[in-house]
Amino acid sequence: MKDIRLINAFVRAAAETLEAELQVPVERGALALSGPDDPDSPVTGIVGLTGAMEGAIAIGVERATACAIASALLGEEFAEVTPLVASGISEICNIIAGRAAALLFEIGHRVEISPPIVVTGQEVRLRTVDLPRLVVPFSTDFGRIELKVMAQQRNGH
């Protein structure tokens, strides 16, 4: 990625969104590169990016973390990853992408985002072909939450 401010926008958006949504302290871990065959989280929300950046971002959590987040935010107990629980993770990913798009717009990069999707399962693997996969973990009282930025700056932007 040519401009480090692009990745910073997603990291900042994730930290701000998680703190605001979850109402708990959020501690950011070190940024790392993930390999194309590394497994993804059992509950992963994904939002596509077009415009100044192409690719996607993802938010991944363990099943227990997804249930804990939904239970806290909806005020009822969830012991399994229902479609409603999974929708919570995709919505958090959507809000992070939207916030990042607003931050990027402020520095002159227009990024469009797609409606979010969510995948669940024990063997989730997102194939991103040649796109780099940057991973930023966040520690919360609900468990570990991973932000993955699988995108690159488009030529001419």
């Binding site: 969104t17 605001a20 949504e21 939904a70 935010l73 909806l74 005020g75 479609p83 409603l84 629980v85 929708s87 919570g88 995709s90 919505e91 959507n94 809000i95 992070i96 992408a97 939207g98 916030r99 798009a101 607003a102 717009f105 227009r110 985002i113 797609s114 409606p115 979010p116």
Partner: protein, 118 residues
């Protein structure tokens, strides 16, 4: 009791927002995309609308314009993750009464609804 049409493709957000509105004394009807929002608006004639922007089938801005074309007095607040200035301006020019940015802020949602109901 005032009726609020809640439009969002995310079931989680609809559930969360509907609970908040019902707990605050409002009746709630839901739609999960813009096209369904327009149909529900015609059928139910709600007192106010809370609507997401990015949705499949028909997005929130298109639905806002259609609802306002059908009912120029429609009271609609956009609730969205998308905060680009031009998108906000487009919504306001198209007749949105307010534009709330996610993350979910219960106080601001209730305040926006009460403002719309005036």
């Amino acid at each position: 009791m005032s009726t609020i049409l809640l439009v969002d493709d995310a079931a989680f957000m609809r559930t969360r927002c509907a609970k908040l509105l019902r707990d605050s004394g409002f009746e709630v009807v839901e739609a999960e995309n813009g096209a369904e929002a327009v149909r529900t608006y015609i059928a139910v004639k709600p007192d106010a609308v809370l609507m997401d922007v990015i949705m499949p089938e028909m997005d929130g801005l298109a639905a806002l314009k259609e609802i306002r074309r059908l009912d120029p007095s429609a009271r609609v607040t956009m609730v969205t993750a998308m905060g680009q200035e031009d998108m906000v301006l487009d919504a306001l020019k198209s007749g949105a009464k307010n534009y709330l940015l996610k993350p979910f802020q219960p106080d601001r949602i209730i305040e926006a609804v009460r403002k719309m109901l005036g």
